[in-house]
Structures are given as structure tokens and as C-alpha cells.
């Protein structure tokens, strides 16, 4: 009993390392600083930028046509005379929103699925993970395209479809970790003491899974944004007049030889976002890596 108590204390100490110290050590990495600054900058620009712009992202001015960047239209205008800056920012809202919502869906499915498979074990586990293997063998983009074809094209369906295919990796990670944690002495002790399963899962297992979940979620956001952009680029995603970075890059790619700015600005925002999120994800992984 004393031993169990000791182990519990050690675990508690581990998880309760004071938050400010943790943040300081995270931001000691240049990647973390650059990534966070860049991403926050883009996020704030997309969220609040449109409030300060007089142009509308949807009303067209056909007589204006595609204009090169100027003082009035910093990023120029598209072929329908719409201001590209505001369209890029609105598109960013959509892309980032889908990125986060689909990640939430993926995390919810992946964590619960993986925890159940790992905790119950035996045949249930084998069956559940075999299913993951099967779906894993399929190309994600194709499934998402299939789902958007079958279910119609709407924002909610897009992020549900993406979330529904991105959870697999997390389910594998969580299942592996859960199996390890399940055999720990303090979990056995909790079981012997009659703690119900859902409490063991939430108190003793989920809490120890937080760091891999955070790392994975951060790295999922850019891959979701990428997937959504591919689908919108192919014209199967977000529909006009709404825009996402993928659909804007598509418009730009069709006329890049005459109006290069239509391609360059959305691509720049998209690439910098992916870059910054990868920086943050890598830095978080190093930060939580116990072998360091």
C-alpha cells in the first residue's frame, strides 16, 4: 500500500510540474517561438482583419476585373473584382476553422476508440484494431472525396468526413499507451479498491495521455488543412462565394500566367500556416519527449 502511495505521489509530481516552468522550457526552442508567433499573427489577421476592411468578400464588381495589388487593394482583386486580401483572410478563417473542428472530431473518436480497445483488451481489442488496419490501408483523400460525393458538399460534412478519417493514427497511439498504463501498479491498485472503470479511464489513464494527444492534435491540424485544401482545390469542397485557401489557390492556378497575385498571396498564407503549425508540433514533441 505504501508503495502504491509513493508511486502515486511520483506521478502527481510529474504531472504537476509548475506550469510557468513548462512554458518557459517550451519557448526556449526557436522553432516554438517562431511557429507560435507566426501562427498567432495569421490567426489574428484572419479573425479580426476583415473587421477593418471596407471591402466585401462576396459582392462582385465586374467592371473592376482583376487588378494588380495597389494601395486600395493590397493583394489586388480577383477576376470578379473582389478584394483578394479580404478573400484570403475569410478563406483563412474557413481553412483554420475546418482544421480545428476536424481535429476535435478526430481526437474525440481516436481517443475514445483507442482507450476502449486498449483497456478492454483481448478479442475486442484485436477486432477493433483490425478494423483500424483495414481503414488505414485506404487512401484518406479518396474516402473523403467519396463521402463528399455521396453526402453532398457542405462545410459541416467536409470537416466531419475529414475528422472521420484522421482519427486512426491517434487511436493506435492511444491504444498502445493505454495498454502500457493498464498494467501499472497504481491502476491495478485502483481496480482492487473498487474504482469504477470510467473513473479509472478518466482519472488515471486519460490524464497520462494528455501530452501525446496534444502533440498529435497539433500535427493533425496542418494535415487537415492540407486535405481540405486538396478537396477544395479539386472543386469538391467549399463552394463560392465562400472561399478557403484551397479554392483560392485553385482560382489562382487557373490564371497564374496573367494574374500571378491571385496565386501568390493565398499560397503564401497557406504555406506559412502549415509551416508554423509544423514548427509548433515538432517543438511540442521535443518538449514532451522523455528521452531528451
Amino acid at each position: 500500500m505504501i508503495k502504491v502511495k509513493l508511486e502515486k505521489e511520483i506521478i502527481l509530481k510529474k504531472t504537476q510540474a509548475s506550469a510557468p516552468t513548462q512554458w518557459r522550457s517550451f519557448f526556449s526552442s526557436a522553432y516554438a517561438r517562431i511557429g507560435t508567433t507566426l501562427f498567432l499573427g495569421i490567426l489574428i489577421a484572419c479573425l479580426f482583419g476583415p473587421l477593418f476592411l471596407d471591402h466585401s468578400y462576396e459582392s462582385t464588381q465586374l467592371e473592376l476585373g482583376a487588378q494588380a495589388p495597389s494601395y486600395n487593394h493590397l493583394f489586388g482583386t480577383d477576376t470578379l473584382g473582389r478584394d483578394l486580401l479580404i478573400r484570403t483572410l475569410i478563406g483563412g478563417r474557413i481553412s483554420i476553422l475546418i482544421g480545428f473542428l476536424a481535429t476535435v472530431v478526430a481526437v474525440l473518436i481516436g481517443v475514445s476508440y483507442g482507450m476502449i480497445a486498449g483497456y478492454v483488451g483481448n478479442k475486442t481489442d484485436a477486432l477493433m484494431m483490425r478494423f483500424v488496419d483495414i481503414v488505414y490501408a485506404l487512401p484518406f483523400t479518396i474516402i473523403v472525396i467519396l463521402l463528399t460525393v455521396l453526402l453532398g458538399r457542405s462545410l459541416i460534412l467536409i470537416f466531419l468526413a475529414i475528422g472521420a478519417v484522421e482519427w486512426l493514427t491517434l487511436a493506435r497511439i492511444v491504444r498502445g499507451e493505454t495498454r502500457n498504463l493498464k498494467t501499472q501498479a497504481y491502476v491495478e491498485a485502483a481496480k482492487v479498491n473498487g474504482l469504477p472503470h470510467h473513473k479509472i479511464l478518466s482519472k488515471h489513464i486519460l490524464k497520462n495521455l494528455i501530452s501525446p494527444i496534444i502533440v498529435f492534435a497539433t500535427l493533425t491540424v496542418p494535415s487537415v488543412i492540407l486535405l481540405e485544401s486538396i478537396i477544395s482545390f479539386l472543386g469538391l469542397g467549399v463552394q463560392a462565394p465562400l472561399a478557403s485557401w484551397g479554392s483560392l489557390i485553385n482560382e489562382g492556378a487557373q490564371k497564374f500566367d496573367i494574374y500571378p497575385w491571385l496565386l501568390i498571396f493565398p499560397s503564401l498564407f497557406f504555406s506559412l500556416t502549415i509551416l508554423s503549425l509544423n514548427f509548433i508540433g515538432d517543438a511540442l514533441r521535443d518538449h514532451f519527449d522523455p528521452s531528451k
Partner: protein, 305 residues
């Protein structure tokens, strides 16, 4: 080895069956038949069409027929390209996609692996930052960003390549780079960390102590083991290249299977979509099998799991 192949084949068959069944169920569930048109057809015509496509039989017979046909490589008629079978379209367009994928894979490996090895050799020095910086740039330039940019620079501005088509050998360059460089970046990162891990081993120190040349250590003693994460990555990479080929083929107007798939998704050509999905799934399963075998050959220890 033979046991491994057999075991993996036994895992693959049920997977394919599940996917085939799922596509069959999806085809049945889709609201509105494929022949719903603006103008309603007379019941007589409708009955004839349904009889022609075997849709008037009971559902379990249709299912059995469906499985039998797929087993024989018959994917049924395309609903939109009248007179064409899905397998004929696949047979005609897939070789083009395969060629594109092959070049892209070459780009990914021949750019990624040397970059990763160089970064590992220069570990802790400035050069490493440079090489890995290049790899990072690659990661945030997926096909639909890189493709138009390459076109803008090399065909519009410099005029070195055609903007579209798949006729001359030089038409292969930009599409292959567009598709391959993104994966080269991942390959470089994996090669670097794999090489660094191996270089830590005592047998490398022994080799060094015995006075072996550094390039020999890398090429002979390190590479085979260090590349095993890269080999594992080839499975997902090829799956990714298939979806990447949708973008590249659309962008460069290449008549490969990818552009047919995207078009059929647009046109609601349901048999074509399902047939292509099934085909891609089989392809990816086959490729994963090859990757697993390659892996087992490179790392004999993994066979024991």
C-alpha cells in the same frame, strides 16, 4: 518469408472483400439512381435500362454477381461514358498515372535520401540547418501550391517546359517534381533521423576504430538499416501520391486515372467512382504487401513479431 507472404495474403483478402461489400452497399444507398435525368423516362425504357445493367434481379443475386464480376476484373459499365467499361477506362489511363507516380517516387528518393544523409553527416553544424531547412520548405509546398509556382517560373517566365500535356519527355519533368518534392522532404527527415540512430551504434565505432573510410561506413554499414523507416513510409507515401496525382493530373491536364476519378466524382458517375476506389484500394494493399516484404528483407528481426 513464404509464411509471411501467405499470412499477409490471408489478411488482404478479407480486407478487399470488406471494401467491395462497402462499395456495393454505398452504391445501393445513393439517393436517386444513376439514370435520373431532367426528363423522366417512360417505365418501359427504365425497365429496359435496369435489365441491361442487371438491376432488376433480387438484391442478393446482384451482390453475388457484383462480387463475381469484380473477381474477374470486371468493374461494370461506366454510367457516363456510354459504351465504356470502367475497367477499360482504368486500363487506358492507369499506365499514365503509374508512369507519373514512378518518376515522382524517383524524385522523392533521389532528392530525399542524399539530403537526409548529408544532414546526418553534418549533424550539429550549419550545413545541417541548411539541408533540413530545405526539407521544411518542401513540407509546406504540397502539389497544388508547388505545381502552379513551378509552372509560373519555368514555363511562363523562362519558357523551358510546356504548360500542359503529356507528350514529350520534357512534359514529365514538372509534374514529377510537383508530386515528388513534397515527399522528398519527408524522406529527407526520416533518412536523417534513421542515419543518426544507426551512427550511435557501437559497431559503427568499431568500424571507425578499424580505420574504415567514412563514406564506406555510411554506404555499407549504415544505409540498409537507416533506410528502414523510409521503407515503412513508402506505403503511406504512395497512398498520398495517388491523391496527389488527382491534383497534378488536373493541373497539368494529364489524361491519367486521377483526372478521370476527379471528373467522375464531379459528374456523379457512381460506378466509375466505386470502381476506381476499389482499384486504388487493391493497389494500395498490394503495395503495402510489397513494402512489408521489403521491410522483412531489410530487418530480419521484425519477422518474429
Amino acid at each position: 518469408m513464404a509464411q509471411l507472404i501467405l499470412r499477409r495474403l490471408f489478411q488482404t483478402i478479407p480486407t478487399l472483400w470488406l471494401i467491395a461489400t462497402a462499395t456495393f452497399i454505398l452504391l445501393q444507398l445513393i439517393p436517386g439512381g444513376p439514370f435520373d435525368q431532367e426528363k423522366p423516362v417512360t417505365p418501359e425504357v427504365k425497365r429496359l435500362i435496369e435489365a441491361h445493367y442487371g438491376m432488376d434481379k433480387p438484391i442478393h443475386e446482384q451482390y453475388l454477381q457484383f462480387l463475381l464480376n469484380r473477381l474477374q476484373g470486371d468493374f461494370g459499365p461506366s454510367y457516363k461514358y456510354a459504351g465504356w467499361d470502367v475497367d477499360e477506362i482504368i486500363a487506358q489511363s492507369f499506365p499514365i498515372s503509374l508512369e507519373l507516380g514512378f518518376y515522382a517516387l524517383l524524385v522523392a528518393l533521389f532528392v530525399g535520401v542524399p539530403l537526409g544523409i548529408l544532414a546526418a553527416i553534418y549533424h550539429g553544424k550549419r550545413m545541417e540547418t541548411l539541408f533540413m531547412g530545405l526539407a521544411l520548405i518542401g513540407i509546406c509546398l504540397p502539389a497544388f501550391v508547388l505545381g502552379p509556382l513551378l509552372l509560373l517560373v519555368f514555363s511562363t517566365e523562362l519558357g523551358w517546359f510546356n504548360t500542359f500535356g503529356w507528350n514529350t519527355p520534357s512534359d514529365r519533368v514538372l509534374p514529377a517534381l510537383t508530386l515528388g518534392l513534397f515527399y522528398a522532404a519527408f524522406v529527407a527527415r526520416l533518412t536523417r533521423s534513421g542515419t543518426l540512430d544507426v551512427l550511435k551504434n557501437p559497431y559503427i565505432q568499431t568500424a571507425r576504430a578499424k580505420g574504415l573510410k567514412e563514406h564506406r561506413i555510411i554506404l555499407v554499414h549504415t544505409l540498409k538499416v537507416a533506410l528502414s523507416p523510409v521503407v515503412s513510409y513508402l506505403g503511406p507515401a504512395v497512398a498520398g501520391m495517388i491523391s496527389g496525382s488527382f491534383v497534378v493530373e488536373t493541373l497539368f491536364f494529364i489524361p491519367g486515372l486521377g483526372s478521370f476519378f476527379v471528373n467522375s466524382a464531379f459528374n456523379r458517375d457512381d460506378t466509375m467512382v466505386m470502381g476506381t476506389v476499389l482499384f486504388y484500394a487493391a493497389l494500395i494493399l498490394l503495395f503495402n504487401l510489397i513494402v512489408d516484404l521489403l521491410h522483412a528483407w531489410m530487418n530480419p528481426r521484425t519477422q518474429r513479431d
